[in-house]
Subunit: 296 residues, 2 copies
Amino acid sequence: MENITIKQLRYFEAVSAQGHFGRAAEICSISQPAISVQIKELEQTLGQKLFERHARHIRLTAFGSVFSERVQPILRAIDDLSDLARAANPGLVGKLRLGVIPTVGPYLLPKFVTDLTAAFPGLDVRMRETQTEKLIADLLAGELDIALVALPISEPALAEVPLFEEPFVLLRAVGDAHKPVPNGETLRKMRLLLLEEGHCFRDQALSFCGPSPNAPHESMEGSSLSTLVQMVASGLGVTLLPEMAVRLETRSADVSVARFPTPEPTRQIGLIWRKTTPMAAQFQQIAELFRTTTAV
Amino acid sequence: MENITIKQLRYFEAVSAQGHFGRAAEICSISQPAISVQIKELEQTLGQKLFERHARHIRLTAFGSVFSERVQPILRAIDDLSDLARAANPGLVGKLRLGVIPTVGPYLLPKFVTDLTAAFPGLDVRMRETQTEKLIADLLAGELDIALVALPISEPALAEVPLFEEPFVLLRAVGDAHKPVPNGETLRKMRLLLLEEGHCFRDQALSFCGPSPNAPHESMEGSSLSTLVQMVASGLGVTLLPEMAVRLETRSADVSVARFPTPEPTRQIGLIWRKTTPMAAQFQQIAELFRTTTAV
DNA sequence: TAAAAATACTCCATAGGTATTTTAT
DNA sequence: ATAAAATACCTATGGAGTATTTTTA
């Protein structure tokens, strides 16, 4: 009967993401009846049901999911309108939601964030640390502005700006310090400690060991680099560590650090953001700032 | 301060199209203060002025025109959401805004519209006859759903579906009926009557006469095919006529009609619509219907 | 000074809240 | 029987109208 409103579209997005009116209402900071009413009105306006209501959960109808695919880019474009206005300001102000992968976060962020807020005093930096896959999803969903990750990420909707190339070093028990540094192939036969599934650093370490259909022989896993270092110190095996993590992680652990001979294994650290963001010029500024002040 | 609303974006589009708050208000069927308030709120939300106010007219600011470029595709995408729901219905119902070029309108439309409403009784057909350029602008602005034009139009955002190829015939005074039918080159040296600038049929006729930097020798112009026919009957010159116009236009005029030898000059008539419309499947149905029932 | 936009105010439609009922497993 | 959505009802915000003032070329 009436007209579609942005509010309805946002509520619709929340409900379809949550699969639940109550939780969606909470996320939108309104009551459950309010969201029910708005969804109902939207359905009436469209003349089509958007959700199948079941007792414990709801699901998008066939029409609903086609609708959803069109709604999402619209909402992102509307979000961008506000950023367009921000981008028109000189400098860089307002909220910046920054994502970072766990194997970079603790080592680079303190200085990065310090430099960033020093350079742009009007900036309100919010942080989120999680794995690459989730960061990408959050960027695409408009829940993050920018993320610091290992490149390439190969998502067509995202722009990638490389910052620097970082080598991996070998971490061994102190007793092994005199042994020759293994190459990738040799490493593969050793007891290599890895981060659990989902960390891009795990895959980068594995790929250094050459093509292998499965994880290497008798590998063990940890959920953070700190844990891996402790495991190495306890003689459970060897691991790779990004160079930026060496100082912090080996400070209080009794382990031996060795550089690999060239070609060293490396990863490329860079920034990513949605290509359509009107803040692209500002994000480039951030990349520049990073290169000149934070670079390792 | 608050949130951007679709209403504000629609008002903004109207004001920026009209360059005038009052006229924009009229188009939106609201009062001038209402639109002023909404634009003001939008400007406050964005923290940027959208318009420069002058005494007799207003103009987009630099920011306003960047904003406008982003707003337009958003509004089109929102318009498409309603069509998405329509497209989910079986058959084809609701309002269909059909555009047509002047050199097709009077000859094809009566039967076309009859067939269309017969095949889809739920359809409410609205018509607009004007020149190709304006039809394209209206399609892109979401003010038309579909248009019947001469192809190609080569607008990347529009889909083109050819319907049929139509020959042009030569119209001469009856006294010239015995003379040989001229080819394009010869025609160029005769007194060729043309439609005024802006009609695609004018350009098609001219192109048959071969490459010519200027209009042909001593040409004269009319604003409709009927006028041209009357001019020919009065011995002012010769003209080309699309075949579909012959029956209606030569009924009461004393002129001679002659086919050209092959290669005949022709034009291709087809339908165009925005590529992103969710109604594409329905529009294809219309094209099919046209081919099977209205074809010449 | 005249055309056009902004402001002041009033009113009503509607979005959202609370309390409650209905529905589906 | 229970979790979840829908409905009923009330309130308050804000969008839109009319009347008027301010602005600027």
